[in-house]
Subunit: 437 residues, 2 copies
């Protein structure tokens, strides 16, 4: 076989040249020799599509174009790397590229979480590759292990911290005792939160990632709208104080589970919400803008993946890994493993998903209060795992941790308890993970 | 395209049917439908080679054979899964299989650490796949991320706990304060150490894994004999006590580094030895038989992979992941990424590898002692990072932690200090990792 540098080059169209795209362009040039050796052929930029070519004096002018449609279907292009983000017009560009037989590498989680069916279909029809490692957990090699390394195993659970902004805010609230609004302001000031932080703090970003993870792990099409989503805006200093008192902390987790009901019927649950976990749990120690994802599989047991979840260079590393894989496939005229939704499991509504609750109450300090509260749990078929009562003046603090029950039953129990005369205040309600049941 | 179950089956020869092989055979049968969907064709057992077929009443008799040579080259076989272990005669079998165009999946670290060059050459010549995820860190998807996900990045360091037996022993010594021999006996009694624990406790197993990791990470052929190897037999209760006093613990680590000297010349260092690390380090919390590996790359930054490093089912999970990948490649008449040793960096001898030492001394408690000890370090060009002295009766305890220096210089310094009159005893000498320099 010819030496890599003598083979026809794999020609790359780069869409978008911001923080990540700039790093991809830099590494493609600086690491050209390495990349050629690993891909089996030179990997070269054929063009860079940006909105305003005149705004990029740092890039070779002959590569710049504003005409994306032309670039993505150009005969001179083998692979399209998409780093623009958002759904339209990107969806149309990538479908056009795939139809023209180009392979696609993208970091676009929102698009994949909504329109993966169309995109996979177009890739299959054209025999082209669609890779997207950078869409979830930045630099952490996570999707390839799920798609490939664990392909012979049965994944039962994927749970992790997949959004750096919310992890930074919750870590800061935990260490300073400050409230949410104040901590968000500080995070914005320091550049850890965007000017409009909605996508992060309301959990949309994490929900897109949960949809992608659940789809891969369970071979089932799960979209962002299938994911139950709660952000961190309602997490209070009181929640973190309650967690701290019990040796726990609060994290925003994406949780994807295979649930088998009593009749043996399987379904998939995907959700994003704040969770109380023990401080001894591996995810509790993941601070700042890092991401970490826990995977449980029947044969492999517990696995954890940890690393930087965002940033130009880390995300570019994941993009280049995909680009080398796609280039290698082109060199051998093959393609990578296809996506599969063959299991097609139903998505379980949140209300029917088994969860556990931590409930912290301020109650009247008199006989019979615990009995009334306990009766409310019993009336909804919820079994109590632990109770802790302590007196504070003429009131008492009552903390209840439940066993697993359908989320809707837990929710109704909390609603009912809030209406009891003996309950002065529901101080904190939080789901619990990572403990023995 | 035809449905997976209608395509010609991928036929598998299984060599060895012990703890791991038994699990592979079980999963191949139990997960047949899943595997077919993921591989794109049925994956079936064509035969199982065992030494004594009559000793396996649990397996289908028509599959059993003692004739390995015939099985591995049989026209009825597409893929050979080798779980026998050891170098000969396995090497011959696998070369014969590759030459006959069969793809190979193996968990054989000793063989890969010695003879990977022959095996890769045979695989390349035949256009066949050679996969070996299970050879390092059991169930943890580690080799595929190194080979593929990080293919566009520049890995600078791989450091981890890759041997469960020694990790169990060191964890137990740390928590009980007991000595090495006593703890090894207990580990053997509980089944955590083999009857002949040499391969584990003397670091041979970890050195094979270090060779495989260094080869993949640095695109350089590194064999087990290139790896500097020290086991845990000389780790004493005093070493662990010294570590504990400083908020550290001791782990047996495999460390693979890309080292650039002052002239900009790159080389590779691969070593296995006991190391003192801070208790706050992520590897410090990895207990019992778990494995964890830290990877540092230029663009991706720090990554960590964690999971079960041994055991029948976890290892079988890794084997099946490879088997599905190989089967997929067969279905599309392609092959996976080839190994590459294109960087061909020189291997740096241990003496020239930069390390840091922790030295704990029992010295005479009088003026001028510290000056003499400090002079010995200075004479060898070793710079001191921290000193701690405390009096115990008429003696003093002196702990020195150095900055980085060539390992040989540190070794000579320790030798010289041991000969000083004022030094009563060199209590503990241990390399240090995971701290700011």
């Amino acid at each position: 076989m010819a030496a890599p540098e003598e083979r026809p080059a794999i020609r790359v169209a780069l869409l978008g040249c911001g923080t990540v795209g700039g790093q991809v362009a830099r590494l493609l040039t600086e690491q050209a020799e390495e990349l050629a050796a690993r891909a089996g052929a030179p990997v070269e930029l054929a063009g860079i599509a940006v909105r305003r070519p005149d705004k990029h004096p740092e890039l070779p002018p002959e590569l710049l174009t504003a005409d994306v449609e032309q670039l993505v279907t150009s005969d001179d292009v083998d692979v399209v790397v998409e780093l623009v983000g958002g759904i339209e017009p990107v969806r149309g560009w990538l479908l056009a590229a795939l139809k023209a037989g180009k392979s696609v590498v993208t970091a676009n989680k929102a698009l994949l979480a909504e329109h993966s069916a169309d995109l996979f279909e177009a890739a299959d029809a054209a025999g082209a590759d669609l890779y997207f490692e950078a869409a979830v957990a930045g630099a952490i090699p996570l999707l390839r292990p799920l798609r490939e390394s664990l392909a012979g195993d049965r994944i039962t659970r994927v749970m992790g911290i997949v959004n750096g902004t919310t992890n930074y805010i919750l870590s800061a609230m935990d260490s300073t005792g400050a409230g949410y609004a104040e901590t968000l302001d500080e995070a914005s000031r320091l550049g850890y939160a965007e000017a409009d932080p909605t996508a992060d703090v309301d959990g949309y970003d994490a929900a897109s990632k949960a949809a992608i993870l659940a789809s891969l792990a369970f071979h089932t099409r799960v979209t962002a709208s299938d994911v139950h989503r709660e952000g961190i805006a309602d997490v209070t200093a009181a929640d973190l104080a309650a967690a701290r008192m019990l040796g726990r902390t609060v994290k925003l987790l994406a949780i994807c589970e295979r649930v088998t009901d009593d009749d043996g019927v399987e379904s998939v649950s995907a959700r994003v919400h704040p969770v109380m976990i023990p401080r001894s749990h591996q995810l509790a120690g993941v601070g700042g803008a890092f991401n970490a994802v826990y995977v449980e599989a029947d044969a492999a047991g517990e696995l954890m993946f940890y690393g930087q979840g965002a940033g130009g260079a880390p995300t570019a590393s994941a993009v280049l890994g995909d680009l080398v894989a796609v280039a290698r496939n082109r060199v051998v005229a093959g393609r990578g493993p296809r996506e599969s939704a063959h299991a097609a499991l139903p998505v379980r509504p949140m209300g029917q998903t088994p969860t556990r609750y931590h409930v912290s109450l301020s109650v009247a300090d008199r006989a019979g209060v615990l009995a009334q509260v306990a009766q409310a749990f019993a009336d909804h078929g919820v079994s109590i795992a632990a109770v802790r009562q302590s007196d504070v003046g003429d009131r008492a603090s009552l903390v209840v941790v439940t066993h697993q029950a359908p989320d809707a039953a837990l929710q109704s129990t909390v609603d009912e308890i809030g209406r009891l005369d003996v309950v002065h205040e529901v101080v904190s309600v939080m789901r619990v993970e990572g403990e023995d049941q």
